[in-house]
Symmetry: C2
Subunit: 179 residues, 2 copies
DNA sequence: GATTTTCCGGACCATGAGTCCGAATGACTT
DNA sequence: AAGTCATTCGGACTCATGGTCCGGAAAATC
C-alpha cells in the first residue's frame, strides 16, 4: 500500500494533484481501506515520509557513518544536514504532494524580499560571491516562515526574543560572508 | 473589498477556513465579482499581502528610518529583517489563511529533526544557552524547506552547491554559538 | 456447515473553488 | 425622457475530491 502510493506519487508530474482515489486504485484497494489505514490524506503522506526518515534514523544509529558518535560534533552537524538534504531531494515528489504554498517563493513579493536583502548583504560584505550571498539571503528569510514563528511563540519565545535571535543570526552570517 | 477581506480574515479564529463566499458576503459583493477582481483565492491573498508589503517598501524608501540608506549595512540588514518580522506578526491571520502545512512543524518528524540537531549543536557548543541553540537548529532546518530547495535548483545551483552552502551556514552558526 | 465477527470497498455525501449567463446599471443618442 | 447598447454584477450552478458508511464478502469459531 505504502509502496504503491510512493510509486504513483513519484510517477506523477504534479504530486499534489494525485487523488486518494488514484492511490487506492494503484494499490488495488478500496478508498475506504486507505482512509481506515491512514485516517486522512495527510496521514498517508506522513506515513510515507516517516518511512523515509526511519531509514535516516537507522543510519544515525550506525556507528560507522560520519553521522555516528565517532565524528567531531561539527562534522556530525554537517553530515546530519546533508543526510536530510539528500533525503529530501530523493523524496521531492512526496514532499511536494502537500500542495500548500507551491511557488510562493517564486512570487514577486518573495523575490523582492530576497533581492533587497541580498543587496544589503552585498553592501555589508562586498567581497563575497553572488551565490553565497543569495544563499545567505534565503537562509535569513527562511526562519521568517509563519509556521516557524508560530512554533517559536508557542515554545515560549516572545517577539523580542525572536528579533534578537534573528539579529544574531544575521550578524553571524555577515561575519562569515566577510571571511 | 480588500479591507473587508482583511477584516474577516483577522476576525476568524481559523483564517484558512474562511471561504470566498464569506468574504464576498462581508464585502457586500457577489462571489463572481471577487473572482473577477482577483482571479482566485490565492490571488486575493496575494493582493492583501502585497498591500502590507507596500507599506514596508515605503518605509524602506524613507530616509529617516533605520532602514534608510544612512545606517550601516549591518544595522540595515537587522532592521530589514525586523521589519519583516513585525509585518508578519501583524498579519499572521493573513499568512495563515493559506492552509498548507499548518502544524507540520509540530509533527513528530520535525520535532525529532530539531531535537537531534539541537543535541548535536549542544555538543559542538556546550556553553551556548538553550534558547540560542534551539533557534539555531530551527534556522539551520528552515532552508531545507522543499520549496526553497526547488528555488535553489531552479536558480542553477546543484545539490553539491546547496550542500556546501549549508555546511558553511552550519559552520558559521556554530562559530557564533561558541562566542 | 451454520453462525458470528471482522474487515473490505465502492457508492454516497458535503464542501468550497471557480464558472456563467441572465439581470441590472449606466452611458450615449436622438 | 425614452430607447438602445455596452459593461459589469451576482448568485445559482458545476465539478472535483476528501472523507463517510453500510451492505456484503471473507475468515474465524464451534
Amino acid at each position: 500500500m505504502l509502496v504503491a502510493a510512493d510509486a504513483v506519487l513519484a510517477a506523477a508530474p504534479f504530486p499534489a494533484a494525485v487523488t486518494m482515489e488514484a492511490i487506492a486504485e494503484a494499490a488495488a484497494v478500496g478508498k475506504g481501506t486507505l482512509f481506515r489505514a491512514f485516517g486522512s490524506r495527510d496521514g498517508l503522506l506522513d506515513a510515507l515520509w516517516t518511512r523515509q526518515l526511519d531509514r535516516l534514523r537507522d543510519a544515525l544509529a550506525a556507528e560507522d557513518s560520519p553521522l555516528g558518535a565517532s565524528g567531531s560534533p561539527r562534522r556530525r552537524v554537517a553530515a546530519f544536514l546533508d543526510a536530510l538534504l539528500w533525503c529530501k531531494l530523493d523524496n521531492r515528489h512526496l514532499l511536494r504532494a502537500r500542495e500548500a504554498a507551491a511557488g510562493l517563493l517564486a512570487s514577486p513579493n518573495y523575490l523582492w524580499m530576497h533581492a533587497t536583502l541580498a543587496g544589503l548583504l552585498r553592501d555589508a560584505a562586498p567581497k563575497a560571491s553572488q551565490m553565497t550571498i543569495d544563499y545567505a539571503a534565503h537562509a535569513l528569510l527562511a526562519p521568517l516562515h509563519i509556521d516557524l514563528i508560530d512554533v517559536l511563540l508557542a515554545a515560549g519565545m516572545n517577539p523580542q526574543d525572536i528579533s534578537r535571535a534573528q539579529t544574531r543570526h544575521a550578524k553571524a552570517m555577515i561575519a562569515d560572508l566577510r571571511d
